[in-house]
């Protein structure tokens, strides 16, 4: 028994690679198989996957339900748009650096206020702060363009690949791979973080705050760091999202967009590492087709959410894992 427990970790690593490698092969091969439209749709899914991955560091691992992650997504997106408008920047790398910098600043400040609270109080405060940013984007139209938003032209990737000419082809090939590369890095980085001693400490805080303090963990400080990392991931997603969309509007700062991030994560399953990513990709398809199918798409998604919470509380990934385990035990 004792040897089984000690060898347990290695098996986790092997299992991780066993799903990561086939998934990566599919994602790399997809543009050759699927059309441009499908590839761009998946790029949106991957971007939202990064956002949900960041969000779930708080929900799944630290036990904090943020209802304000639209703020960080928006900060990422608007930083890019403002860099275009005021600085004339076109380099995607500079966009990413700028977005990360802005998100570090905003989450560091918001975090100080938010990590003093937990549960519903944390949720409400994060939501309130995000609504402040939304109203700024909404009202300061001479800076942010108000409801018209700000246009963002196709950026230059790595200083050489410019999206001149066919924008759709650019987004479906060069930009898709650019997003995919960053997605892979983000997944890998987050995977290390949740499996680090720090990640264990977050899970300890989630399970039992008092005891976490009594094994010497400074809970507020750790929550703050988690908040920062979480917000930066979501902000990075926002920055990657703007060139895809070509435009940023205050909608992505609104609390309902935070709700979508929560939805994706619950859909995929917040108790597993891959859940939020799967959930984001599935949600993206669901929303796209629902919008195309009916004007009552919100109603349709609402029904899906209710059915999901009632029948599959562990989400897609959690339910799939359980089915898999049951089949193997047979």
């Amino acid at each position: 028994m004792s040897t089984a427990a000690v060898t347990l970790p290695q098996r986790t690593h092997v299992r991780t690679l066993s799903w990561a490698i086939p998934a990566l092969v599919i994602l790399v091969a997809l543009p050759w198989v699927a059309g441009e439209y499908q590839t761009i749709l998946l790029a949106y899914g991957l971007v939202m996957g990064i956002a949900a991955l960041g969000f779930n560091l708080l929900l799944g691992y630290t036990g904090l339900l943020s209802f304000g992650h639209s703020a960080y997504f928006g900060v990422g997106a608007y930083t890019v748009a403002l860099m275009v408008k005021y600085l004339g920047v076109t380099s995607m790398e500079l966009f990413l650096v700028g977005a990360v910098g802005a998100c570090v600043l905003v989450t560091a400040i918001f975090g100080v206020a938010c990590v003093r609270y937990t549960r519903i109080f944390f949720g409400i405060l994060t939501m309130a702060l995000s609504q402040v940013l939304w109203s700024l984007a909404f009202k300061f139209f001479w800076v942010t363009g108000g409801t018209d938003g700000l246009r963002v032209p196709t950026p230059t990737l790595l200083g050489v690949i410019a999206g001149k000419g066919d924008k759709i082809a650019f987004l479906a090939t060069a930009y898709y791979y650019y997003v995919l590369a960053i997605f892979v890095v983000c997944v890998a980085v987050m995977w290390v973080i949740v499996n680090s001693p720090f990640g264990r400490a977050l899970q300890a805080i989630r399970d039992n705050e008092v005891r976490a303090a009594f094994v010497g963990i400074q809970i507020r400080k750790y929550r703050w760091v988690a908040f920062l990392v979480s917000g930066v991931f979501t902000g990075l997603a926002g920055a990657l999202w703007v060139p895809l969309n070509g435009l940023t509007t205050p909608d992505i700062m609104h609390w309902t967009f935070s709700g979508e991030i929560v939805f994706m994560t619950v859909l995929g399953g917040f108790r597993s590492f891959t859940g939020p990513v799967i959930g984001a990709i599935v949600f993206n398809y669901l929303k796209t087709y629902a919008v195309g199918y009916t004007v009552y798409w919100q109603l349709l998604l609402g029904v899906v959410l209710v059915v999901l919470v009632v029948s599959l509380p562990t989400g897609i990934v959690g339910s799939a894992e359980r089915l898999w385990a049951r089949r193997r035990s047979r």
């Binding site: 499996n195 399970d207 005891r211 094994v215």
Partner: protein, 252 residues
């Protein structure tokens, strides 16, 4: 023996109620001490004050000669004060092994590391497994803490505190809610670990067999003050303790 911990005039007030009322409490280096008293006598409040869960309204706490009254829980743990809980406090979704390993990571300052795989740190896991073995829990290493029996949870709670390598360990009713049959094995395990490592321990306990069987010294509390302080033999003969806490000699 030198003084490890000393409180001076410690007071904690909850509204009108003085839970701890000017307590001067001492723990000597290397001793196993029992803290007894009826419910509401102030035992747990005293431990909460010393461990840093509560702030005193007056008085001071000195540990190894340093004033720790204003220190955070984190600093006190660093100094060597650890505790277990009366109502078990564990990380229920994490395995028993993870629970203990977390204490070790924390003690070594490694929980600040975001960029390292916890599972790759072999020495930590080996030490964690060793600690579980010491508490005869190694067979349950992979079981989530939430899935253990009450007795096992009590032991794991102590193991998590022990893994911090404290100099002073407070155990708040380590055998409460545990079947009579499990009590002495649990106390035997705890006592042998504490004594072999030379850790000072202060045990809050109601079970008099445990109190007299395992402690070097007994401190009896009553209504927020210390009623008596002495060896088990002295306490056994102390009239005030007998009448207020244990029951009249006639009744025994």
């Amino acid at each position: 023996m030198s003084v490890l911990l000393e409180t001076r005039g410690l007071v904690k007030q909850f509204g009108e109620f003085r839970a701890v009322d000017g307590v001067a409490f001492r723990v000597q280096d290397g001793e196993v001490l029992a803290l007894i008293g009826s419910n509401g006598a102030g035992k747990t409040t005293l431990v909460n004050l010393i461990s840093g869960l509560l702030r005193p309204d007056a008085g001071s706490i000195h540990f190894r000669g340093a004033d720790v009254t204003a220190q955070s829980v984190h600093e006190r743990i660093g100094a060597g004060i650890a505790r277990s809980f009366q109502l078990v406090n564990l990380f229920d979704q994490l395995s028993a092994l993870d629970n203990v390993a977390l204490s070790i990571f924390s003690r070594q300052g490694k929980t600040r590391k975001l960029w390292a795989l916890a599972e790759a740190d072999r020495p930590v896991w080996q030490e964690a497994l060793g600690i579980l073995a010491t508490f005869r829990m190694d067979a349950k290493a992979a079981v989530p803490a939430g899935g253990l029996s009450q007795g096992e949870r009590k032991l794991l709670d102590v193991a998590v505190a022990y893994a911090l390598k404290p100099k002073l360990l407070f155990l708040d009713e380590p055998t409460s809610g545990v079947s009579t049959r499990e009590k002495s094995p649990i106390m035997d395990t705890i006592a042998s670990v504490v004594r072999s490592e030379g850790i000072s321990a202060a045990i809050i306990e109601h079970d008099m067999d445990v109190v007299f069987g395992y402690s070097d010294r007994i401190v009896a509390m009553h209504q927020g003050t210390i009623l008596a302080d002495g060896t088990p033999e002295q306490i056994r003969r102390d009239e005030r303790v007998l009448t207020t806490l244990i029951g009249t000699p006639e009744a025994r």
